[in-house]
Protein backbone atom coordinates (compact mmCIF):
# COMPACT_ATOMS: atom_id res chain seq x y z
CA UNK A 1 0.00 0.00 0.00
CA UNK A 2 1.51 3.31 -1.05
CA UNK A 3 1.45 6.29 1.22
CA UNK A 4 -0.43 9.33 0.02
CA UNK A 5 2.67 11.27 -0.90
CA UNK A 6 3.90 8.42 -3.02
CA UNK A 7 0.58 8.27 -4.82
CA UNK A 8 0.66 11.99 -5.44
CA UNK A 9 4.17 11.73 -6.77
CA UNK A 10 3.05 9.01 -9.15
CA UNK A 11 0.32 11.24 -10.48
CA UNK A 12 2.70 14.15 -10.83
CA UNK A 13 5.04 11.93 -12.80
CA UNK A 14 2.44 12.07 -15.56
CA UNK A 15 3.06 15.77 -16.10
CA UNK A 16 6.82 15.48 -15.87
CA UNK A 17 7.14 15.66 -19.61
CA UNK A 18 9.01 17.87 -21.98
CA UNK A 19 6.87 20.52 -23.66
CA UNK A 20 5.45 19.31 -26.98
CA UNK A 21 7.08 20.59 -30.15
CA UNK A 22 10.62 21.61 -30.84
CA UNK A 23 12.47 23.50 -28.15
CA UNK A 24 12.89 27.20 -28.79
CA UNK A 25 15.40 27.54 -25.97
CA UNK A 26 18.74 28.63 -27.36
CA UNK A 27 21.78 28.61 -25.11
CA UNK A 28 23.85 30.68 -27.54
CA UNK A 29 21.12 33.30 -27.59
CA UNK A 30 21.12 33.39 -23.78
CA UNK A 31 24.85 34.13 -23.86
CA UNK A 32 24.43 36.77 -26.53
CA UNK A 33 21.54 38.46 -24.70
CA UNK A 34 23.43 38.23 -21.42
CA UNK A 35 26.47 39.93 -22.89
CA UNK A 36 24.32 42.66 -24.39
CA UNK A 37 22.58 43.34 -21.09
CA UNK A 38 25.91 43.47 -19.30
CA UNK A 39 27.17 45.99 -21.84
CA UNK A 40 24.14 48.18 -21.47
CA UNK A 41 24.42 48.07 -17.72
CA UNK A 42 28.03 49.10 -17.83
CA UNK A 43 27.05 51.99 -20.07
CA UNK A 44 24.32 52.90 -17.64
CA UNK A 45 21.65 52.77 -20.29
CA UNK A 46 18.15 52.00 -19.34
CA UNK A 47 16.53 48.71 -20.13
CA UNK A 48 14.29 50.58 -22.49
CA UNK A 49 17.14 50.79 -24.97
CA UNK A 50 17.64 47.08 -24.95
CA UNK A 51 15.56 44.85 -27.08
CA UNK A 52 14.23 42.27 -24.67
CA UNK A 53 11.80 39.47 -24.90
CA UNK A 54 8.40 39.91 -23.33
CA UNK A 55 9.40 37.95 -20.30
CA UNK A 56 12.68 39.73 -19.98
CA UNK A 57 10.88 43.01 -19.85
CA UNK A 58 8.53 42.05 -17.09
CA UNK A 59 10.80 39.82 -15.12
CA UNK A 60 13.10 40.67 -12.30
CA UNK A 61 16.49 41.31 -13.78
CA UNK A 62 19.63 40.00 -12.24
CA UNK A 63 21.33 43.31 -11.77
CA UNK A 64 24.97 42.68 -11.15
CA UNK A 65 26.15 46.15 -10.46
CA UNK A 66 27.08 47.01 -6.92
CA UNK A 67 24.12 47.75 -4.78
CA UNK A 68 24.58 51.33 -3.81
CA UNK A 69 21.58 51.51 -1.61
CA UNK A 70 22.21 51.93 2.05
CA UNK A 71 19.99 49.71 4.07
CA UNK A 72 17.99 51.47 6.70
CA UNK A 73 16.16 49.78 9.48
CA UNK A 74 12.78 51.28 9.36
CA UNK A 75 12.72 54.54 7.50
CA UNK A 76 14.53 56.10 4.65
CA UNK A 77 14.54 59.72 3.75
CA UNK A 78 15.95 61.08 0.63
CA UNK A 79 15.66 64.11 -1.36
CA UNK A 80 13.92 62.33 -4.12
CA UNK A 81 15.85 62.87 -7.29
CA UNK A 82 13.69 64.48 -9.87
CA UNK A 83 15.05 63.86 -13.27
CA UNK A 84 13.44 65.53 -16.22
CA UNK A 85 12.77 62.98 -18.88
CA UNK A 86 11.75 63.12 -22.45
CA UNK A 87 8.09 63.73 -22.95
CA UNK A 88 6.39 60.45 -22.37
CA UNK A 89 4.82 60.12 -25.74
CA UNK A 90 5.45 62.66 -28.49
CA UNK A 91 1.97 62.29 -29.85
CA UNK A 92 -0.56 60.74 -27.54
CA UNK A 93 -2.95 58.84 -29.69
CA UNK A 94 -6.69 59.28 -29.81
CA UNK A 95 -9.26 56.91 -31.19
CA UNK A 96 -11.80 58.06 -33.75
CA UNK A 97 -15.29 57.79 -32.34
CA UNK A 98 -14.18 57.54 -28.72
CA UNK A 99 -16.81 59.16 -26.52
CA UNK A 100 -15.06 61.67 -24.27
CA UNK A 101 -16.38 62.88 -20.90
CA UNK A 102 -16.03 65.98 -18.81
CA UNK A 103 -14.24 65.87 -15.48
CA UNK A 104 -13.35 68.77 -13.20
CA UNK A 105 -9.63 68.71 -12.92
CA UNK A 106 -7.43 70.45 -10.36
CA UNK A 107 -4.88 72.84 -11.81
CA UNK A 108 -1.40 71.58 -12.58
CA UNK A 109 1.04 71.61 -9.69
CA UNK A 110 4.61 70.60 -9.16
CA UNK A 111 5.59 67.15 -7.99
CA UNK A 112 6.84 66.86 -4.41
CA UNK A 113 10.56 67.26 -3.90
CA UNK A 114 11.16 64.78 -1.11
CA UNK A 115 9.55 61.65 0.20
CA UNK A 116 10.09 59.60 3.32
CA UNK A 117 9.30 55.90 3.41
CA UNK A 118 8.21 53.85 6.41
CA UNK A 119 7.50 50.15 6.52
CA UNK A 120 4.04 49.03 7.47
CA UNK A 121 3.87 46.98 10.64
CA UNK A 122 3.21 43.25 10.37
CA UNK A 123 1.25 42.04 13.39
CA UNK A 124 2.31 38.67 14.72
CA UNK A 125 5.97 39.07 14.01
CA UNK A 126 6.00 38.12 10.33
CA UNK A 127 8.34 39.73 7.86
CA UNK A 128 6.44 39.95 4.65
CA UNK A 129 3.49 42.10 3.75
CA UNK A 130 1.86 42.94 0.49
CA UNK A 131 0.16 46.22 -0.28
CA UNK A 132 -2.66 46.48 -2.80
CA UNK A 133 -4.20 49.91 -2.47
CA UNK A 134 -4.81 53.12 -0.58
CA UNK A 135 -8.04 54.99 0.04
CA UNK A 136 -8.22 58.45 -1.57
CA UNK A 137 -7.31 60.18 1.69
CA UNK A 138 -4.19 58.07 2.14
CA UNK A 139 -5.20 56.99 5.67
CA UNK A 140 -6.14 53.41 4.87
CA UNK A 141 -3.92 50.84 3.22
CA UNK A 142 -5.20 47.45 2.06
CA UNK A 143 -3.20 44.29 1.57
CA UNK A 144 -2.12 41.17 3.33
CA UNK A 145 0.55 39.90 5.64
CA UNK A 146 2.54 36.71 5.68
CA UNK A 147 3.55 34.83 8.78
CA UNK A 148 2.45 31.31 8.12
CA UNK A 149 -0.73 31.70 6.14
CA UNK A 150 -1.40 35.02 4.45
CA UNK A 151 -4.02 37.12 6.18
CA UNK A 152 -5.82 40.19 4.88
CA UNK A 153 -5.01 43.42 6.67
CA UNK A 154 -6.38 46.94 6.73
CA UNK A 155 -3.92 49.50 8.02
CA UNK A 156 -5.32 52.77 9.37
CA UNK A 157 -2.77 55.51 9.93
CA UNK A 158 -0.15 52.76 9.95
CA UNK A 159 -1.95 50.56 12.49
CA UNK A 160 -2.87 47.08 11.28
CA UNK A 161 -6.19 45.32 11.71
CA UNK A 162 -6.39 41.72 10.62
CA UNK A 163 -9.48 40.77 8.65
CA UNK A 164 -9.37 36.97 8.50
CA UNK A 165 -11.39 35.39 5.70
CA UNK A 166 -10.59 31.75 6.25
CA UNK A 167 -9.42 30.92 2.75
CA UNK A 168 -6.10 30.55 1.05
CA UNK A 169 -4.07 33.55 -0.13
CA UNK A 170 -6.80 36.00 0.91
CA UNK A 171 -6.35 39.75 0.67
CA UNK A 172 -7.99 43.14 0.80
CA UNK A 173 -7.84 44.91 -2.54
CA UNK A 174 -9.15 48.41 -1.97
CA UNK A 175 -10.68 50.79 0.58
CA UNK A 176 -12.68 54.02 0.57
CA UNK A 177 -12.26 57.05 2.82
CA UNK A 178 -14.68 55.57 5.40
CA UNK A 179 -12.36 52.62 5.84
CA UNK A 180 -14.74 50.20 4.14
CA UNK A 181 -12.72 47.71 2.17
CA UNK A 182 -13.20 44.91 -0.35
CA UNK A 183 -11.17 41.90 -1.34
CA UNK A 184 -11.43 38.22 -1.89
CA UNK A 185 -10.68 34.90 -0.34
CA UNK A 186 -9.74 31.58 -1.91
CA UNK A 187 -11.59 28.85 -0.09
CA UNK A 188 -12.23 25.58 -1.84
CA UNK A 189 -14.47 26.01 -4.81
CA UNK A 190 -13.14 29.30 -6.13
CA UNK A 191 -12.72 32.88 -5.02
CA UNK A 192 -15.28 34.58 -2.77
CA UNK A 193 -15.61 38.32 -2.79
CA UNK A 194 -15.78 40.10 0.55
CA UNK A 195 -16.66 43.53 1.84
CA UNK A 196 -15.49 44.79 5.20
CA UNK A 197 -18.04 47.46 6.03
CA UNK A 198 -18.30 49.22 9.37
CA UNK A 199 -15.90 46.69 10.83
CA UNK A 200 -17.99 43.69 9.77
CA UNK A 201 -17.02 41.24 7.05
CA UNK A 202 -19.72 40.35 4.51
CA UNK A 203 -19.63 37.96 1.63
CA UNK A 204 -20.81 39.64 -1.54
CA UNK A 205 -23.63 38.07 -3.50
CA UNK A 206 -23.17 36.36 -6.84
CA UNK A 207 -21.17 33.27 -5.93
CA UNK A 208 -17.54 32.89 -6.90
CA UNK A 209 -16.16 36.32 -7.60
CA UNK A 210 -13.33 38.72 -6.98
CA UNK A 211 -14.08 42.23 -5.66
CA UNK A 212 -11.46 44.73 -6.72
CA UNK A 213 -12.52 48.31 -5.97
CA UNK A 214 -14.89 50.38 -3.81
CA UNK A 215 -15.77 54.07 -4.00
CA UNK A 216 -17.03 56.45 -1.33
CA UNK A 217 -20.65 55.71 -2.24
CA UNK A 218 -20.00 52.07 -1.42
CA UNK A 219 -20.25 50.83 -5.01
CA UNK A 220 -17.96 47.90 -5.63
CA UNK A 221 -16.28 46.70 -8.81
CA UNK A 222 -15.16 43.17 -9.56
CA UNK A 223 -15.87 40.14 -11.67
CA UNK A 224 -17.76 36.92 -11.31
CA UNK A 225 -15.61 33.86 -11.85
CA UNK A 226 -17.69 31.03 -13.23
CA UNK A 227 -15.40 28.19 -14.09
CA UNK A 228 -13.32 29.85 -16.79
CA UNK A 229 -15.79 32.58 -17.70
CA UNK A 230 -15.09 35.96 -16.12
CA UNK A 231 -17.88 38.54 -16.07
CA UNK A 232 -17.27 42.13 -14.93
CA UNK A 233 -19.81 43.40 -12.42
CA UNK A 234 -20.71 46.22 -10.07
CA UNK A 235 -22.29 45.65 -6.67
CA UNK A 236 -24.30 48.81 -5.88
CA UNK A 237 -23.66 48.10 -2.19
CA UNK A 238 -22.23 45.38 0.00
CA UNK A 239 -25.69 43.82 0.35
CA UNK A 240 -26.82 44.12 -3.24
CA UNK A 241 -26.87 41.63 -6.06
CA UNK A 242 -24.16 42.16 -8.64
CA UNK A 243 -25.06 43.91 -11.89
CA UNK A 244 -23.28 42.54 -14.92
CA UNK A 245 -21.45 45.04 -17.07
CA UNK A 246 -21.89 44.80 -20.82
CA UNK A 247 -19.22 43.15 -22.89
CA UNK A 248 -19.16 42.57 -26.65
CA UNK A 249 -20.70 39.34 -27.84
CA UNK A 250 -18.26 36.46 -27.84
CA UNK A 251 -16.20 37.79 -24.96
CA UNK A 252 -15.96 35.20 -22.21
CA UNK A 253 -13.17 36.73 -20.28
CA UNK A 254 -13.41 40.28 -18.97
CA UNK A 255 -12.39 41.71 -15.64
CA UNK A 256 -13.14 44.93 -13.77
CA UNK A 257 -10.31 46.26 -11.64
CA UNK A 258 -11.37 49.64 -10.25
CA UNK A 259 -14.27 52.04 -9.80
CA UNK A 260 -14.11 55.85 -9.87
CA UNK A 261 -16.14 58.11 -7.56
CA UNK A 262 -18.72 58.68 -10.32
CA UNK A 263 -19.15 54.93 -10.78
CA UNK A 264 -16.98 54.58 -13.89
CA UNK A 265 -15.34 51.16 -13.96
CA UNK A 266 -12.18 50.12 -15.80
CA UNK A 267 -10.72 46.75 -16.66
CA UNK A 268 -10.24 44.74 -19.79
CA UNK A 269 -11.94 42.37 -22.19
CA UNK A 270 -10.18 39.45 -23.82
CA UNK A 271 -7.52 37.13 -22.62
CA UNK A 272 -3.86 37.67 -22.00
CA UNK A 273 -2.05 38.28 -25.23
CA UNK A 274 -5.01 40.10 -26.69
CA UNK A 275 -6.45 42.11 -23.83
CA UNK A 276 -8.15 45.38 -24.64
CA UNK A 277 -8.56 47.99 -21.90
CA UNK A 278 -12.21 48.80 -21.37
CA UNK A 279 -14.29 51.42 -19.60
CA UNK A 280 -17.85 51.03 -18.36
CA UNK A 281 -19.73 54.25 -17.55
CA UNK A 282 -22.44 54.58 -14.89
CA UNK A 283 -25.05 55.29 -17.58
CA UNK A 284 -24.59 51.75 -18.90
CA UNK A 285 -22.50 52.64 -21.92
CA UNK A 286 -19.07 51.14 -22.40
CA UNK A 287 -16.22 51.36 -24.85
CA UNK A 288 -12.74 50.09 -25.52
CA UNK A 289 -9.99 52.50 -24.55
CA UNK A 290 -7.80 53.81 -27.37
CA UNK A 291 -4.98 51.50 -28.37
CA UNK A 292 -1.61 52.77 -27.10
CA UNK A 293 0.74 53.46 -30.00
CA UNK A 294 4.49 53.70 -29.57
CA UNK A 295 6.89 54.75 -32.32
CA UNK A 296 4.12 54.29 -34.83
CA UNK A 297 3.24 50.77 -33.80
CA UNK A 298 -0.03 49.96 -32.03
CA UNK A 299 0.10 47.68 -29.00
CA UNK A 300 -1.77 44.41 -29.16
CA UNK A 301 -2.21 43.66 -25.47
CA UNK A 302 -3.14 46.25 -22.86
CA UNK A 303 -5.41 46.55 -19.85
CA UNK A 304 -6.71 49.22 -17.48
CA UNK A 305 -6.15 48.74 -13.76
CA UNK A 306 -6.99 51.97 -11.97
CA UNK A 307 -9.16 55.01 -12.59
CA UNK A 308 -9.33 58.36 -10.82
CA UNK A 309 -11.19 61.46 -11.95
CA UNK A 310 -11.14 60.34 -15.56
CA UNK A 311 -7.47 59.33 -15.62
CA UNK A 312 -6.82 55.67 -16.25
CA UNK A 313 -3.61 53.68 -15.91
CA UNK A 314 -2.82 50.12 -16.76
CA UNK A 315 -0.31 47.88 -18.35
CA UNK A 316 0.67 47.75 -22.00
CA UNK A 317 2.76 45.28 -23.91
CA UNK A 318 4.21 47.41 -26.69
CA UNK A 319 4.57 46.11 -30.22
CA UNK A 320 8.28 46.48 -29.45
CA UNK A 321 7.85 43.52 -27.07
CA UNK A 322 8.32 45.24 -23.76
CA UNK A 323 5.97 46.29 -21.03
CA UNK A 324 5.56 50.02 -20.48
CA UNK A 325 3.49 52.48 -18.50
CA UNK A 326 0.32 53.87 -20.04
CA UNK A 327 -2.15 56.60 -19.12
CA UNK A 328 -5.48 57.34 -20.72
CA UNK A 329 -7.39 60.57 -20.34
CA UNK A 330 -11.16 60.08 -20.61
CA UNK A 331 -11.50 63.86 -21.13
CA UNK A 332 -9.47 63.92 -24.34
CA UNK A 333 -9.73 60.24 -25.23
CA UNK A 334 -5.98 60.00 -25.65
CA UNK A 335 -3.62 57.17 -24.76
CA UNK A 336 -0.13 58.10 -23.70
CA UNK A 337 2.69 55.56 -23.57
CA UNK A 338 5.17 56.15 -20.75
CA UNK A 339 8.13 54.19 -21.95
CA UNK A 340 10.43 55.51 -19.22
CA UNK A 341 8.60 53.40 -16.70
CA UNK A 342 7.74 49.76 -16.73
CA UNK A 343 4.68 49.76 -14.51
CA UNK A 344 2.04 52.45 -14.13
CA UNK A 345 0.16 50.96 -11.21
CA UNK A 346 -2.09 53.77 -10.02
CA UNK A 347 -3.13 57.28 -10.92
CA UNK A 348 -4.37 60.24 -8.87
CA UNK A 349 -6.89 62.94 -9.76
CA UNK A 350 -4.12 65.15 -11.19
CA UNK A 351 -2.90 62.38 -13.45
CA UNK A 352 0.12 61.61 -11.29
CA UNK A 353 1.22 58.02 -11.61
CA UNK A 354 3.03 55.65 -9.28
CA UNK A 355 4.81 52.53 -10.43
CA UNK A 356 8.25 51.22 -11.21
CA UNK A 357 10.94 52.52 -13.55
CA UNK A 358 13.29 50.56 -15.77
CA UNK A 359 15.81 50.26 -12.96
CA UNK A 360 13.18 48.46 -10.84
CA UNK A 361 12.81 51.40 -8.47
CA UNK A 362 9.58 52.89 -7.16
CA UNK A 363 8.66 56.13 -8.90
CA UNK A 364 6.13 58.94 -8.95
CA UNK A 365 5.65 60.77 -12.24
CA UNK A 366 3.37 63.38 -13.74
CA UNK A 367 4.18 61.99 -17.17
CA UNK A 368 7.09 64.37 -17.75
CA UNK A 369 9.22 64.38 -14.63
CA UNK A 370 10.07 61.17 -12.85
CA UNK A 371 10.72 61.15 -9.12
CA UNK A 372 12.44 58.12 -7.64
CA UNK A 373 11.10 57.12 -4.22
CA UNK A 374 13.77 56.30 -1.66
CA UNK A 375 14.35 52.72 -0.64
CA UNK A 376 13.31 51.75 2.85
CA UNK A 377 15.19 48.48 2.39
CA UNK A 378 17.93 47.89 -0.11
CA UNK A 379 17.15 45.68 -3.05
CA UNK A 380 18.93 42.35 -3.28
CA UNK A 381 21.34 42.57 -6.19
CA UNK A 382 20.04 39.39 -7.72
CA UNK A 383 16.39 40.03 -8.26
CA UNK A 384 15.15 43.02 -6.34
CA UNK A 385 12.45 45.41 -7.32
CA UNK A 386 10.59 48.16 -5.51
CA UNK A 387 7.46 49.82 -6.73
CA UNK A 388 4.65 52.21 -5.97
CA UNK A 389 1.27 50.55 -5.94
CA UNK A 390 -1.19 53.30 -4.98
CA UNK A 391 -1.39 57.08 -4.60
CA UNK A 392 -3.68 59.30 -2.51
CA UNK A 393 -5.77 62.09 -4.01
CA UNK A 394 -3.39 64.80 -2.83
CA UNK A 395 -0.49 62.88 -4.33
CA UNK A 396 1.46 63.08 -1.08
CA UNK A 397 0.88 59.56 0.25
CA UNK A 398 2.10 56.60 -1.75
CA UNK A 399 1.85 52.95 -0.80
CA UNK A 400 4.03 50.33 -2.36
CA UNK A 401 6.41 47.46 -1.94
CA UNK A 402 10.05 47.44 -1.07
CA UNK A 403 12.37 44.44 -1.17
CA UNK A 404 14.07 43.48 2.02
CA UNK A 405 17.61 42.47 1.24
CA UNK A 406 18.04 41.05 4.73
CA UNK A 407 15.26 38.56 4.02
CA UNK A 408 16.14 37.31 0.57
CA UNK A 409 14.10 39.82 -1.29
CA UNK A 410 10.86 39.37 0.58
CA UNK A 411 8.55 42.25 -0.12
CA UNK A 412 7.42 44.53 2.65
CA UNK A 413 4.62 47.02 2.36
CA UNK A 414 5.76 50.61 2.76
CA UNK A 415 4.17 54.03 2.78
CA UNK A 416 5.94 57.10 1.49
CA UNK A 417 4.93 60.54 2.72
CA UNK A 418 5.97 63.28 0.34
CA UNK A 419 6.36 67.03 0.60
Amino acid sequence: MQDTNEQVRNIFATIDTRPPGLSTVDVARAIETGKRRKRFRRLGLSGAAVSLSVLAAIAIPYALQADHDRRKEATATASASAEPSAKASPTPTAKPGFQTRHYDRPGARALPTSCEGTKLPVPGGGIKSYVRNLDPSGRYVTGRIYGGDPEPVLWRDGKATRVPMGGNDDGLEAANTKGDAVGFSYPEGGPRSKAYVGGVLHELKGGTAEATGINDRGRISGHLVQDRIFKPVVWPSANADPIELAVPQGVWYARAFDIDEDGTVVGHIGDTGQRVAYVWYPDGTAQALPTPVFEGKPATDFDARRVRNGWVTGLVLLAQQRVAGVRWDLVTGKAEVLDQIEWSNDVGPSGWIVGMDRANDAVLTDGVTILKLPNVFAKPTGYGMNWGEAISDDGLTIAGLNDDKAHDGEQRGVVWKCR
Binding site: F12, T14, R18, I31, A59, P61, D149, I229
Partner: protein, 176 residues
Protein backbone atom coordinates in the same frame (compact mmCIF):
# COMPACT_ATOMS: atom_id res chain seq x y z
CA UNK B 1 40.45 41.59 -19.88
CA UNK B 2 40.60 37.92 -20.51
CA UNK B 3 38.64 37.03 -23.57
CA UNK B 4 40.18 33.58 -23.25
CA UNK B 5 38.90 33.40 -19.69
CA UNK B 6 35.51 34.55 -20.86
CA UNK B 7 35.44 31.94 -23.61
CA UNK B 8 36.27 29.23 -21.09
CA UNK B 9 33.60 30.48 -18.73
CA UNK B 10 31.09 30.51 -21.59
CA UNK B 11 32.00 26.95 -22.43
CA UNK B 12 31.41 25.79 -18.86
CA UNK B 13 28.13 27.67 -18.81
CA UNK B 14 27.04 26.07 -22.08
CA UNK B 15 27.92 22.60 -20.84
CA UNK B 16 26.07 23.08 -17.60
CA UNK B 17 22.97 24.61 -19.13
CA UNK B 18 22.78 22.08 -21.93
CA UNK B 19 22.79 19.29 -19.37
CA UNK B 20 20.06 21.02 -17.33
CA UNK B 21 17.88 22.10 -20.19
CA UNK B 22 15.53 19.17 -20.34
CA UNK B 23 14.86 19.28 -16.62
CA UNK B 24 14.27 23.03 -16.67
CA UNK B 25 11.89 22.78 -19.60
CA UNK B 26 9.92 20.09 -17.82
CA UNK B 27 9.68 22.20 -14.68
CA UNK B 28 8.62 25.29 -16.62
CA UNK B 29 6.06 23.31 -18.59
CA UNK B 30 4.56 21.82 -15.44
CA UNK B 31 4.31 25.27 -13.89
CA UNK B 32 2.80 27.22 -16.74
CA UNK B 33 1.18 24.44 -18.80
CA UNK B 34 2.07 26.11 -22.05
CA UNK B 35 4.92 24.95 -24.26
CA UNK B 36 5.82 28.33 -25.72
CA UNK B 37 5.63 30.12 -22.44
CA UNK B 38 7.65 27.35 -20.80
CA UNK B 39 10.46 27.85 -23.28
CA UNK B 40 10.28 31.62 -22.81
CA UNK B 41 10.62 31.13 -19.06
CA UNK B 42 13.62 28.87 -19.49
CA UNK B 43 15.24 31.18 -22.03
CA UNK B 44 14.97 34.09 -19.63
CA UNK B 45 16.11 32.00 -16.66
CA UNK B 46 19.26 30.81 -18.40
CA UNK B 47 19.99 34.34 -19.56
CA UNK B 48 19.83 35.47 -15.96
CA UNK B 49 22.00 32.57 -14.95
CA UNK B 50 24.52 33.74 -17.54
CA UNK B 51 24.49 37.23 -16.09
CA UNK B 52 25.36 35.79 -12.71
CA UNK B 53 27.63 33.01 -13.94
CA UNK B 54 30.78 34.66 -12.63
CA UNK B 55 29.30 34.41 -9.14
CA UNK B 56 28.38 30.75 -9.17
CA UNK B 57 31.22 29.76 -6.92
CA UNK B 58 29.24 31.50 -4.16
CA UNK B 59 26.19 29.36 -4.78
CA UNK B 60 25.88 26.26 -2.69
CA UNK B 61 23.37 24.32 -4.74
CA UNK B 62 23.49 25.41 -8.36
CA UNK B 63 20.70 23.13 -9.59
CA UNK B 64 18.35 24.48 -6.95
CA UNK B 65 19.43 28.02 -7.74
CA UNK B 66 18.58 27.63 -11.42
CA UNK B 67 15.22 26.09 -10.59
CA UNK B 68 14.57 28.99 -8.26
CA UNK B 69 15.12 31.41 -11.13
CA UNK B 70 12.61 29.52 -13.26
CA UNK B 71 10.05 29.48 -10.46
CA UNK B 72 10.48 33.17 -9.71
CA UNK B 73 10.11 33.99 -13.39
CA UNK B 74 6.93 31.99 -13.41
CA UNK B 75 5.55 33.69 -10.30
CA UNK B 76 6.36 37.12 -11.64
CA UNK B 77 4.65 36.53 -14.92
CA UNK B 78 1.67 35.17 -13.03
CA UNK B 79 1.55 38.21 -10.82
CA UNK B 80 1.13 40.35 -13.87
CA UNK B 81 -1.68 38.18 -15.06
CA UNK B 82 0.05 36.96 -18.19
CA UNK B 83 -0.95 33.40 -17.84
CA UNK B 84 -4.72 33.50 -17.91
CA UNK B 85 -5.70 31.70 -21.01
CA UNK B 86 -9.20 31.97 -22.31
CA UNK B 87 -9.61 33.02 -25.91
CA UNK B 88 -12.23 35.11 -27.57
CA UNK B 89 -14.36 32.60 -29.39
CA UNK B 90 -17.88 31.86 -30.40
CA UNK B 91 -18.40 29.40 -27.59
CA UNK B 92 -17.50 29.31 -23.94
CA UNK B 93 -14.18 27.76 -23.06
CA UNK B 94 -14.30 24.20 -21.96
CA UNK B 95 -14.69 23.75 -18.27
CA UNK B 96 -11.80 22.24 -16.47
CA UNK B 97 -13.92 20.49 -13.95
CA UNK B 98 -13.44 16.86 -13.28
CA UNK B 99 -12.75 14.09 -14.10
CA UNK B 100 -14.43 10.96 -15.17
CA UNK B 101 -12.39 7.91 -14.44
CA UNK B 102 -11.65 7.59 -18.12
CA UNK B 103 -9.85 10.90 -18.35
CA UNK B 104 -6.08 10.73 -18.47
CA UNK B 105 -4.43 11.50 -15.15
CA UNK B 106 -2.30 14.05 -16.83
CA UNK B 107 -5.16 16.08 -18.23
CA UNK B 108 -7.00 16.04 -14.93
CA UNK B 109 -3.92 17.04 -13.01
CA UNK B 110 -3.19 19.83 -15.46
CA UNK B 111 -6.73 21.10 -15.05
CA UNK B 112 -6.37 21.00 -11.28
CA UNK B 113 -3.08 22.84 -11.40
CA UNK B 114 -4.62 25.59 -13.49
CA UNK B 115 -7.12 26.19 -10.72
CA UNK B 116 -4.48 26.74 -8.08
CA UNK B 117 -3.06 30.12 -7.13
CA UNK B 118 0.43 30.39 -8.67
CA UNK B 119 2.43 29.94 -5.46
CA UNK B 120 0.41 26.94 -4.44
CA UNK B 121 0.97 25.47 -7.90
CA UNK B 122 4.70 26.09 -7.61
CA UNK B 123 4.76 24.44 -4.19
CA UNK B 124 3.07 21.22 -5.27
CA UNK B 125 5.07 20.94 -8.49
CA UNK B 126 8.34 21.43 -6.63
CA UNK B 127 7.32 19.06 -3.86
CA UNK B 128 5.78 16.26 -5.88
CA UNK B 129 7.20 16.52 -9.36
CA UNK B 130 10.70 17.70 -8.53
CA UNK B 131 10.60 15.76 -5.26
CA UNK B 132 12.15 18.59 -3.27
CA UNK B 133 12.00 18.82 0.50
CA UNK B 134 9.88 21.33 2.37
CA UNK B 135 13.08 23.19 3.28
CA UNK B 136 14.29 23.35 -0.32
CA UNK B 137 10.94 24.62 -1.56
CA UNK B 138 10.84 27.22 1.21
CA UNK B 139 14.29 28.33 0.15
CA UNK B 140 13.33 28.60 -3.51
CA UNK B 141 10.15 30.53 -2.81
CA UNK B 142 11.68 32.68 -0.09
CA UNK B 143 9.05 31.74 2.48
CA UNK B 144 8.87 29.78 5.72
CA UNK B 145 8.64 26.01 6.03
CA UNK B 146 5.21 26.52 7.59
CA UNK B 147 3.97 28.33 4.51
CA UNK B 148 5.20 25.52 2.27
CA UNK B 149 3.41 22.99 4.45
CA UNK B 150 0.15 24.90 4.48
CA UNK B 151 0.35 25.49 0.72
CA UNK B 152 1.07 21.80 0.17
CA UNK B 153 -1.94 20.87 2.21
CA UNK B 154 -4.14 23.36 0.35
CA UNK B 155 -2.77 22.07 -2.95
CA UNK B 156 -3.58 18.49 -2.04
CA UNK B 157 -7.10 19.54 -1.12
CA UNK B 158 -7.48 21.12 -4.53
CA UNK B 159 -6.20 17.96 -6.16
CA UNK B 160 -8.61 15.81 -4.20
CA UNK B 161 -11.45 18.05 -5.21
CA UNK B 162 -10.55 17.79 -8.87
CA UNK B 163 -9.43 14.23 -9.02
CA UNK B 164 -12.38 13.10 -6.98
CA UNK B 165 -13.02 9.65 -5.69
CA UNK B 166 -10.91 8.12 -8.41
CA UNK B 167 -7.78 9.43 -6.87
CA UNK B 168 -5.45 8.96 -4.01
CA UNK B 169 -6.56 6.31 -1.56
CA UNK B 170 -9.21 4.90 -3.89
CA UNK B 171 -6.79 4.80 -6.74
CA UNK B 172 -4.29 2.93 -4.68
CA UNK B 173 -6.90 0.43 -3.62
CA UNK B 174 -7.99 -0.11 -7.19
CA UNK B 175 -4.49 -0.97 -8.22
CA UNK B 176 -3.71 -3.34 -5.46
Amino acid sequence: MGSEKEAKSDLLYTEYVTAQLEQLRRLAYALCQDAHRADDLVQEAITKLYLNWHNIHKIVNLDRYVRAIVVREFLNTQRLGWARRVRLSDKPPEGSSPAAASVEDRLVLQAALKQMPPRQRAVVVLRFMCDLSVEDVADILGCSDGTVKSQTSAGLNTLRRHLGAFLLEDRANARH
